[in-house]
Amino acid sequence: MNSVDPRREHELMLTRRQLFGRGALGLGTAAMAGLLGDDLLAENKGLPDLPHHTPKAKRVIYLFMSGGPSHLDLWDYKPGLVDKYGEQLPEHVRDGQRVTGMTANQKSGLPICPSKYKFTKQDNNADGVWVSELLPHTASVAKELCVVHSTFTEAINHDPAITYIQTGSQTPGRPSLGAWLSYGLGTDNENLPHYVVMHAHSNHAEQSLFNRLWGTGFMPADHQGMLLRSQGDPVLFLSNPKGVSRKDRRAQLDALAAINQGQADSFGDPEVLARIKQHEMAYRMQMSVPELMDMSTETEETFKLYGDAAKTPGSFAACCLTARRLAERGVRNIQIFHRGWDAHGNLVGEHGSQCKDVDQACAALIKDLKQRGMLDETLVIWGGEFGRTVYCQGGLGKENYGRDHHPRCFSTWMAGGGIKPGITYGKTDEYGYNIADEHGQPLEPQPTHESWTPGTMHIHDLNATILHQMGINHERLTYRYQGRDFRLTDVHGHVIHDIIS
């Protein structure tokens, strides 16, 4: 459920006290607003004690690959598997990990399935990084990326796993990462919401998304992500109705303000003033959002960088370009969901198409931010809710195959925002099945409040690190609900200092 935001309550209480203290009952709206200053009436200023430390990043652009991209076909190069083609995955490697209901009883067992894709080693700022031929553009920005091979989770199915990585809990009801950022840091922009979510087109959109992934759980709903849509109004209900002009709307808002002010005078409720302010912000958004979405000011060079797809609204490329435009306008938190990574059968067909959707645009976003001097202060994250199994699901072929869900290790990357560029972090064993130490020996990370296994990154660690880069101590950003001080990272999470510059 959502409850009343204690910070907001506190602010309003201050507002009210100020009003009473100064005996301002009965003053006109403008006088009241002047008396209070803009600050107290601002929509969302964040918590007073934040940031906890100097932030490295001013904003986040999170490229969420929903469905679980195959680390084995994109980032985690396992040349030794070719010789093991079709062999059963050794029991000691699986070591008791759950197998989903989809492959648990398949007749072929758990046959090893090497990637059919060529990998090339790209220079970075350390020992280099292997990248699949599916991602040629992303490979070209390897020097900017921190590729993490040892992300892991406990959840093995989409709904719990994506809910887990986005909200810190496998079951619904908690605020999303974006809601936490909004609650903690507030907004920088008077004309656009602080948290914007886009859904990019995919040819294989085969998993569900849920409002809860950008929702607020028990926090007030004003921290939820605003959907920026490619169909109809980019923002719900943005356009005036047919037959109503901007001038008409101005006249309406003036009448509305007069009526509302009368109400405020009769009842002395300061919240009325906050509402007048929101009506005005809506009026400004009716200008700022179309301006945001108007790509005609972008140069041909930019379109070349992002690819032709960027001209098609709703494409992943268009979403990335919009993300850059949002970033330029001070929006703090931008998330793009790209579905279709759940390759149970036709991995070659599906991942091929998925990579075409995202590859050039990911690289373009990095280059674009860099050339504008914004990469340093923008944390870009790419990843899904889990990885995919080394064993094949369904028919195993050299040219096509499928892979099941794999929570025990998967690859994500981060760039900019104070993350070390051009490195890799974490390793997996020769099967790409378990996280391993530098000698290839499987690790069994069982993070607790006190301990953490170097070289691993649980999804709570990822979230702790994201918050850290934004100037937030994940253990101190709390919200009390039902008597408990909740955190995004629950009672877990370790900031991965090894990847922070």
Binding site: M1, G217, G483
Partner: protein, 791 residues
């Protein structure tokens, strides 16, 4: 320092700052425990943390102020404030006595000082007035008649008063005028539709399964049953008992079994690859914890993995409570099925329910009336007599109606035939609904280590209750029926308080316990503890009569105060209730008011969730391609204009005009909605199709029912605010009207475009430009604070 109250002042500090280490979840036997008096005062080898005999020797005192070894330790996450340290010191010095947390002690009545013999609304007012008096204040002036008429109508029915009801009330100068108004509102079918909504939030009612595919789920007869139960004023204890365990009652009726949809309300999945045992656990975590929030006002979630850190609830007890739900017969995976068994066939709308309940009453009356005669006439026929004596209502009716049986000559036979035919006819119209049934053999329940479904530990547990809230009554069965006996017993400290607190919240805008979801140690202390207890006892003693409780509340002077801010009382949060309620209306009410005032509202009650206008593609952008809720197919005609409680609730993507105004997603329990204020709400209020269509409807009504601008504005404000416009409001509207008239006359096509919005076609007998201009007035006033707030 003045005397400190352990429960109010001390326990919250101990709980919040100390129990993390020195609380119920401590596993180290040597660790000091501060959660019970015996442990906190025990001899620790020559000293005591709290020494009740020699308070000044208490070790706690020293550690609280120690620079070298402070408590809490210097690196602890939560530190004490100076005033907290002072409270703890004062308490220890006063002897360090413990009392039980107030919410775990059954409520008892403490009569007020000023009016110990008062009853009903007068008693309620006395509790409020005594607290105000202590703050050197008294009740605020009464709200004027129009304001209170609108307020009470919104609180009871979710709509402003009908104009004839309003006018009758305003014209009635008798002392009973207000009571007459209240009685009229309580008798309106709109009452149940409004009151049911709060319960549906709490139990997380939805029309889809919630997880993964989020497919359709057929359970709306439950929603309709709740609305009917509210309108019938089913006593709240019965209301709850049927929902928890209606299927376990002897010869359960259809109503009693449909009510058990409550237990089935948890979100469910059928995701490929999900493991049934995992969801068997998760489904029941959800049920157990929802029970905690809805009826106990407690979070139990912590105890799923470990003994609760704050509240005295052990992990064992959590799983004993869990065990009540763990033996239900449905599969743990929903199969993505609309008819996720067990199901039952039930009436498909409210008219069907009303008819069915009448048939059931007739049947019962007939069986009772005929019993003596039947026994007499079957006295010689032992087989038939046994069948009659052992049969349920269905069997008895069948015997009586059998054209070839021994009772075909009975004087009751014809009536029985008639009722049986009515049942057959009614049943043909039934739809399906999810209900609860237990397995023949209970499922074994064990503690799950860290809440992991695959880590059961220890012996199998019997169902059991939380010992801090009493024991399972001796004769109670160890099933959901027994659970309801425990919850609804006179000794239960929480259920009646929790319920009455939420009833108060929806009447007065704020609850007495401001954390209605948490009455535990970490929750807020009641603003008026004695009032809360009196209300809780009153609820029970009036046989859990909700209408009577609501009537008493709205009849009080406290409710009827003006809601304007006071210069003489600095109480921004209205914790003293020294002014009337004021808050923004909920999403459903905002839409319903527009439908109602435009005359578009379709009064039909119940049925499958309806799908009004919604921007295209919202479901598709999220949904799995295999989901049967990926396409939002907008309804046509009257279905567009049903009351909002009937809007289809897709849990992963509820209607945007609902979520925009803080409606919960119904994936988890919500007993208190936030009331946010955002720019996106402004856009919704002024631009959404149905808002425009409703405004258009209002404008037509104004043009048809009133002749002059003045009269039209008067009618508009009467509808939305129950009063005439103020001078300033009239001026603002007149200015807007002249601007709009002028601009639409200059661009008549714009007027036609505006009026073409929505499916309801325009009345061509009315001048389009005038109608468009008034549409703009109406949409603006519908969005204004006097229309969207309770005050």
């Amino acid at each position: 320092m003045q005397s400190v109250d352990f429960s109010r002042d001390v326990l919250p500090i101990l709980s919040n700052k100390c129990f993390v280490c020195h609380g119920p979840s401590s596993e180290d036997p040597d660790q000091l425990r501060l959660d019970t008096e015996a442990l906190a005062t025990s001899d620790r080898g020559g000293y005591r943390a709290i020494d009740q005999a020699k308070p000044n020797k208490s070790a706690v005192l020293e550690r609280l102020h120690s620079a070298d070894e402070p408590m809490p330790p210097a690196d602890a996450e939560k530190q004490l404030t100076d005033s907290e340290r002072a409270i703890l010191s004062a308490w220890v010095k006063q002897g360090g006595k413990y009392t039980k947390h107030w919410a775990f002690v059954a409520p008892v009545i403490t009569p007020t000082k000023s009016a110990p013999d008062a009853t009903g609304s007068a008693a309620l007012d006395a509790y409020i007035k005594d607290a105000l008096k202590a703050a050197k204040a008294s009740l605020h002036k009464p709200a004027d008649k129009t304001t209170i008429a609108r307020r009470v109508s919104l609180v009871l029915t979710g709509l402003p008063p009908e104009l004839d009801v309003l006018n009758a009330y305003l014209a009635d100068d008798s002392d009973s005028a207000y009571e007459t108004l209240v009685d009229t509102l309580l008798a309106s079918p709109r009452y149940g539709e409004h009151q049911a909504r709060f319960w549906l939030d709490a139990v997380r009612y939805g029309d889809t399964h919630g997880l993964h595919l989020d497919n359709r789920r057929g359970i709306y007869p439950y929603r309709d049953w709740v609305i009917g139960a509210m309108n019938d004023n089913l006593p709240l204890d019965t209301f709850i008992r049927w929902q928890l365990a209606g299927d376990l009652l002897p010869n359960p009726t259809l109503e009693q079994r449909v009510a058990t949809g409550f237990v089935r309300m948890n979100p469910s999945t059928a995701e490929g690859g999900a493991i049934p045992a995992e969801f068997q656990a998760k489904n029941n975590f959800d049920r157990t914890e929802t029970l905690g929030t809805v009826l106990l006002g407690m979070t139990l979630t912590c105890a799923r993995c470990h003994t609760h850190k704050y509240d005295p609830i052990t992990q064992t007890e959590y799983y004993q409570l869990f065990a009540f739900f763990n033996s239900t017969a449905e599969n743990s995976m929903d199969g993505n099925s609309y008819t996720y068994a067990p199901i039952l066939h039930a009436p498909k709308d409210q008219a069907g329910w009303i008819q069915w309940k009448q048939i059931e009453r007739d049947r019962l009356a007939l069986i009772n009336a005929s019993d003596k005669d039947v026994r007499k006439s079957l006295a010689e026929n032992e087989g038939a007599l046994t069948a009659w004596n052992n049969g349920g209502l269905d069997e008895k009716l069948a015997l009586l109606a059998d054209p070839h049986g021994g009772l075909k000559e009975s004087t009751h036979h014809q009536k029985a035939v008639f009722i049986k035919a009515a049942i057959d006819t009614a049943s043909k119209e039934f739809t399906t609904t999810l209900v609860t049934k237990d397995l023949d053999k209970p499922r074994e329940t064990k503690i799950l280590r860290r809440g992991e479904y695959n880590l059961p530990i220890g012996d199998a547990l019997e169902p059991g209750v939380l010992s801090v809230m009493g024991t399972l009554p001796e004769d109670a069965p160890k099933n959901r029926l027994g659970l309801s006996d425990w919850l609804l017993s006179d000794e239960h400290p929480l259920v009646s308080r929790v319920l009455v607190n939420r009833i108060w919240q929806r009447v007065f805008g704020h609850a007495i316990v401001r954390t209605p979801e948490d009455f535990g140690l970490q929750g807020q202390h009641p603003t008026h503890p004695e009032l809360l207890d009196w209300l809780a006892v009153e609820l029970r003693q009036t046989d859990w009569n909700l209408k009577a409780m609501l009537k008493m509340m709205v009849m009080s002077d406290t409710f009827r105060q003006s809601s304007s801010r006071r210069r003489d009382l600095d109480d921004p949060e209205n914790t003293l209730f020294g002014r009337g309620p004021s808050y923004r209306l909920d999403a459903e009410a905002l839409r319903d008011i527009g439908l109602w005032s435009s005359g578009l509202m379709d009064p039909h009650m119940g049925g499958e969730g309806v799908k009004p206008y919604q921007p295209a593609g919202m479901w598709k952008a999220l949904a799995h391609p295999g989901s049967n809720t990926k396409q939002y197919v907008q309804d046509k005609g009257a279905l567009l204009y049903r009351r909002s409680i009937y809007i289809y609730w897709k849990r992963t993507s509820p209607h945007p005009m609902m979520t925009l105004f803080d409606a919960p997603d119904r994936e988890s329990s919500c007993v208190r909605r936030a009331r946010t204020n955002t720019a996106l709400q402004s856009l919704g209020l002024l631009n959404e199709i149905q808002r425009i269509e409703m405004a258009h409807g209002v404008a037509e009504r104004l043009l048809k029912q009133a002749d002059s601008t003045e009269e039209r504005l008067d009618l508009l404000f009467k509808l939305l605010t129950s009063r005439s416009p103020t001078k300033r409001e009239a001026e603002a509207c007149n200015t807007l009207l002249s601007i709009m008239l002028e601009r639409f006359e200059a661009a008549p096509n714009d007027a036609l475009e505006l009026l073409a919005i929505g499916e309801n076609t325009r009345d061509e007998s009315l001048d389009a430009e005038t109608l468009a201009a008034w549409t703009q007035i109406a949409v603006t006033v519908l969005a204004s604070d006097p229309a969207i707030l309770v005050y």
